[in-house]
């Protein structure tokens, strides 16, 4: 626990959240407000390579991952990145750190774009000292490990856009990026739309391919040059490694994504769709984002029907794509799907075959340190949350008991849409979702416009325009405190706050790299 921070080194940010001044040895800027921070300087960059140092025949294959790592000059303490486009079916991250362990490397930092329960073996690597700490989403067993205060460094939770920002700004320097590719050629061009492990887009790895010192592509489906489309360009790739299997297709994409059967969630989804319609957001040329969660899918289903009835067509829909969005594209209810990740086989096929189903990177969609990002152009976005407070601040990373539960994903970046709707149940079993103060602040309330629960819809008072627009509709618009009071009455009073320990175990970054909040250890 040598590199633990003492609470004396904490400082309150503008939202009065105590945050560490130094994280994993790096000086931090405390959160300064949604648009409060202006970074100075130039972007980071990898060393300049020379083509003469690479095979003229374009064949960058080496025999194995350990060989490739050694050829990349792997050393103790380096930062290694992988990506989550295989979700819970990823083999490559575990393969990578098993190889590092065999090579005797220590104190590595794992920098995934997200982690999943399949990455539980990382705990053994951390205990053995192979991995020092993880900067990326922490949930399931890894979340517990971190929440219990067992990780040596601090967890750093970033949004997808924030991860691009951190790489681009040089906050995180990737020594070696390892990109799992469902389809690649010997030169290193790679895509996610062909091959047995097809997942759609590889763009979560795009920043790594541009900014890492060294880049390894790992594939189980090698094709002769050129691998088209080249979502990852071989010109950025050092080595190509062929293995038997890079992932479990059944866990990468599901054959069928299913709409929730929960009556309460369906009710919430229907109200969200009606809100979007009645507030006048659903109009010709509009855009919306809906993810692959059961409630989001149901929202898309209801909205689709309303669009049909009203004869309204969207300009673009922002995915997480699924067959439900693909049906809308085919039916002409939207001109484009701008897709961040693909959740089922129909989505993958559509991205491969339909030029209007476009894979997008966190750079185009989400990066706050860019010359704009299209997340701000989306008219309405529907998101989840674990908790919302009466000032509309929201939490997605921890459970009400304080334990790490989810990564941020694109959630923070989506808050910049024209209208941000959180679709959440008012209570989960006995746990109220609307609270006095969120356990972990992940999204500032000034960006959260509407909360839709099965007990009513609360509109942020800052959005008097929305309140005005749904006046006279038969939607159950209520004060957020009314819903809170009602649910607390049902649950038997206010929930007790988590039994927080005195130790910061992780931080939540804002989209600009400043520190929004701390996650604390929790006493069992």
């Amino acid at each position: 626990m040598a590199d633990r921070l003492d609470s004396e080194e904490l400082r309150e940010n503008v939202l009065r959240r105590p945050v560490p001044e130094v994280v994993n040895g790096k000086k931090q800027v405390p959160y300064l407000g949604v648009h409060g921070y202006r970074v100075q300087g130039r972007k980071a960059g990898p060393p300049i390579p020379t083509a003469a140092d690479y095979p003229a025949n374009g064949d960058k294959r080496v025999g194995s991952l350990p060989e490739a790592l050694e050829a990349c000059g792997i050393q103790d303490g380096m930062t290694l990145s992988t990506h989550h486009h295989f979700r819970n079916g990823d083999f490559v991250s575990n393969m990578l750190f098993d190889a590092c362990a065999k090579l005797g490397r220590r104190d590595l930092m794992w920098f995934p774009s997200a982690s999943f329960p399949c990455h539980e073996p990382m705990i053994a690597h951390m205990q053995a000292g192979v991995v020092h700490h993880i900067e990326g989403s922490l949930n399931g067993p890894l979340g517990d490990y971190c929440t219990d205060g067992k990780m040596r460094g601090l967890g750093v939770l970033r949004s997808h856009g924030g991860r691009w920002q951190a790489i681009q700004d040089g906050e995180v320097h990737i020594d070696i990026a390892v990109i799992a590719a469902p389809c690649a050629d010997p030169f290193g061009n790679a895509n996610g739309v062909h091959g047995p492990a097809a997942c759609g887009s590889l763009y979560f790895a795009l920043a790594d391919s541009l900014y890492a010192d060294r880049v390894i592509v790992v594939t189980d489906h090698l094709v002769p040059f050129p691998a088209i489309p080249w979502q990852i360009q071989g010109n950025n790739v050092d080595f190509v490694v062929c293995v038997d299997r890079i992932g479990d297709p059944s866990k990468i994409v599901s054959g069928t994504t299913e709409i929730t059967k929960s009556p309460d969630r369906l009710l919430i989804a229907e109200w969200v769709a009606r809100f979007v319609r009645d507030a006048g957001i659903m109009r010709n040329g509009f855009s919306f984002q809906a993810g692959a969660g059961g409630t989001s899918l149901a929202f898309a289903m209801y909205l689709k029907e309303m669009m049909r009835q009203a004869g309204v067509k969207a300009r673009f829909v922002r995915g997480g794509s699924t067959r439900y969005l693909v049906e809308m594209l085919k039916e002409g209810l939207t001109d484009y799907i701008l897709d961040g990740q693909t959740f089922d086989l129909e989505g993958v096929a559509s991205m491969r075959d339909n030029p209007c189903h476009v894979p997008t990177s966190p750079f185009t969609s989400y990066n706050y340190h860019g010359k704009g990002f299209f997340g701000t152009l989306v008219d309405v976005v529907v998101l989840g949350a674990t908790e919302v407070d009466v000032n509309f601040n929201a939490n997605v990373v921890t459970h009400s008991d304080g334990r790490l539960l989810h990564g941020i994903g694109g959630w923070q970046n989506c808050l910049f849409a024209g209208c941000t709707i959180l679709a959440v149940p008012a209570l989960r079993d006995r746990i109220p979702v609307i609270v006095d103060e969120v356990t972990t602040l992940t999204g500032p309330g000034e960006l959260v416009d509407v909360i839709v629960t099965e007990r009513g819809i609360a509109i942020n008072p800052r959005r008097s325009d929305l309140l005005e627009r749904v006046k006279g509709s038969d939607l159950p618009i209520r004060d957020i405190r009314d819903i809170q009071r009602e649910v607390e009455q049902v649950c038997g009073g206010k929930p007790k706050p988590p039994r927080r320990g005195g130790q910061v175990v992780a931080v939540v970054k804002w989209v600009d790299g400043t520190v929004l909040d701390s996650v604390w250890n929790v006493e069992r």
């Binding site: 009556p263 309460d264 369906l266 009710l267 009400s400 008991d401 304080g402 209570l427 989960r428 079993d429 006995r430 746990i431 099965e454 007990r455 038969d474 009455q489 049902v490 649950c491 038997g492 009073g493 929930p495 007790k496 988590p498 039994r499 929790v522």
Partner: protein, 414 residues
């Protein structure tokens, strides 16, 4: 080894419920061991509730283990009471949680009963949000959806739910068990302001009268003013033949309904989507109900993924004369309401009849006429109901009469 007793539910998928294990002993006091999914937020509250209930029930010496999966207090109390009763312990009293905000609601004989949502009586997770889906009624079911070994526990759970859960504007119904067990159900639930008792598998007027007598007795003993209404369910060939006697068995009957799963099984027929095998039975129920002056209500539609099938089924029911449908999933409710809603033609016609009726009343005429045509009283009554429903569904503004009169006075001036 002492005998042990259990109640409630446990396992990965269990939510909003708990499992209680009780081991009686002769000395050593009360030992309580609680694990809870909501320990951090409500662990202390859960422990306090468990202790309060055990002490109130007079349990002095026992080892009690509770595995809580987010159960609310009324659920914890019902499960503990169930295990205490199973163990034959305690002072034989009931632990009644304090009544919640929705406890005192009333009903009327005439209210809409288009949709009634079945809630399995031993599944507390479905109770809390049931009224958010706005069915006309909720039914806490003690009969077919509760497995025989859980009947005693479900009865206590439903009793507590009726006290505590806010069912909003929904009519509060309970489907009791058959026979003696059903009569004993009444002792537990009737004092908790049940609006309507559903009586299953009714084949004779005597069955209804037995329930009615017991319910009345319990109601009066509890000092409740409003009558406990009844809705017999006909589910057999014999029930069909006695339908009129059943429908007229008690003045407390407000509706008559039919259960087609059991009915088709009784016939030895397959239940088909077209429903030809039950056509006669449904007509019998409609006719018996109308003859008795109570509301005819159709069976449930059991494929909750087939919303179009449901819509067709409701339209058919409406065409046969039914005014309500059973729902097994909350999402069926809006579809049922929509399909039962009067069409715009129906509303227009009803408006004209109602205006003519009021006109006749104003002028002291005994006969209602629309143009040159006489309108019979039952038609007027139906038109009034159609208009009422249209108003309730916002198909018709509440002030439609003044609007209509303004636009039509000139036309009627001759």
């Amino acid at each position: 080894m002492n005998p042990v007793f259990e109640a409630g539910q446990r396992g990965e998928k269990v939510r909003s419920d708990c499992w209680v294990r009780l081991e009686p002993r002769t000395s050593g006091g009360l030992e309580l061991c609680v694990t809870s999914k909501v320990d951090a937020m409500y662990g202390d509250a859960v422990r306090a509730t468990c202790r309060t209930v055990l002490e109130a029930l007079g349990v002095r010496d026992a080892v009690v283990t509770v595995e809580d999966a987010g159960a609310l207090d009324f659920v914890l109390a019902a499960r503990i009471e169930a295990v205490v009763k199973r163990a034959g312990l305690g002072n034989d009293t009931a632990f009644l949680p304090p009544p919640g905000p929705g406890f005192g609601t009333r009903t009327t004989r005439e209210r809409f009963r288009r949709s009634r949502l079945y809630l399995p009586g031993n599944e507390p997770k479905h109770f809390l949000n049931a009224s958010q889906h706005k069915p006309d009624a909720i039914i806490l079911d003690l009969e077919d959806s509760v497995a025989p070994p859980a009947k005693d526990a479900a009865r206590l759970l439903v009793r507590n739910a009726l006290r505590v859960v806010d069912f909003g504007q929904c009519e509060r119904m309970v489907r009791i068990n058959q026979g003696e067990r059903g009569l004993a159900d009444l002792d537990a639930v009737v004092p908790q302001n049940v609006h309507v008792i559903l009586i299953p598998k009714v084949e004779s007027a005597e069955q209804v009268q037995a329930v009615d007598a017991r319910a009345e007795k319990v109601r009066l003993a509890a000092g409740l003013e409003s009558p406990c209404f009844l809705m017999p369910i006909i589910e057999s060939a014999l029930g069909c033949f006695n339908a009129l006697a059943i429908a007229t068995a008690s003045p407390n009957i407000v509706a008559l309904t039919i259960g087609l799963e059991d009915y088709t099984a009784d016939l030895g027929a397959q239940r088909t989507p077209e429903g030809r095998e039950s056509f006669w039975a449904r007509q019998v129920v409609v006719n018996a109900a109308r003859a008795a002056g109570v509301t005819p209500i159709d069976t449930v539609f059991s494929d909750f993924s087939d919303m179009e099938g449901l819509r067709q089924s409701v339209l058919e029911a409406k065409a046969l004369g039914f005014e309500g449908k059973g729902c097994i999933h909350p999402r069926q409710v809006p579809v049922v309401h929509e399909a039962f809603a009067p069409s715009s033609e129906e509303v227009e016609k009803a408006k004209r009849i109602v205006l003519a009726f009021q006109d006749a009343e104003r002028r002291g005429l005994g006969v209602v006429a629309l143009g040159s045509k006489m309108v019979d009283p039952p038609v007027v009554k139906r038109a009034l109901r159609t208009v009422l429903m249209a108003e309730a569904l916002a198909l018709l503004p509440k002030d439609w009469q003044s609007l209509t009169e303004m636009s039509s006075t000139s036309g009627r001036a001759h």
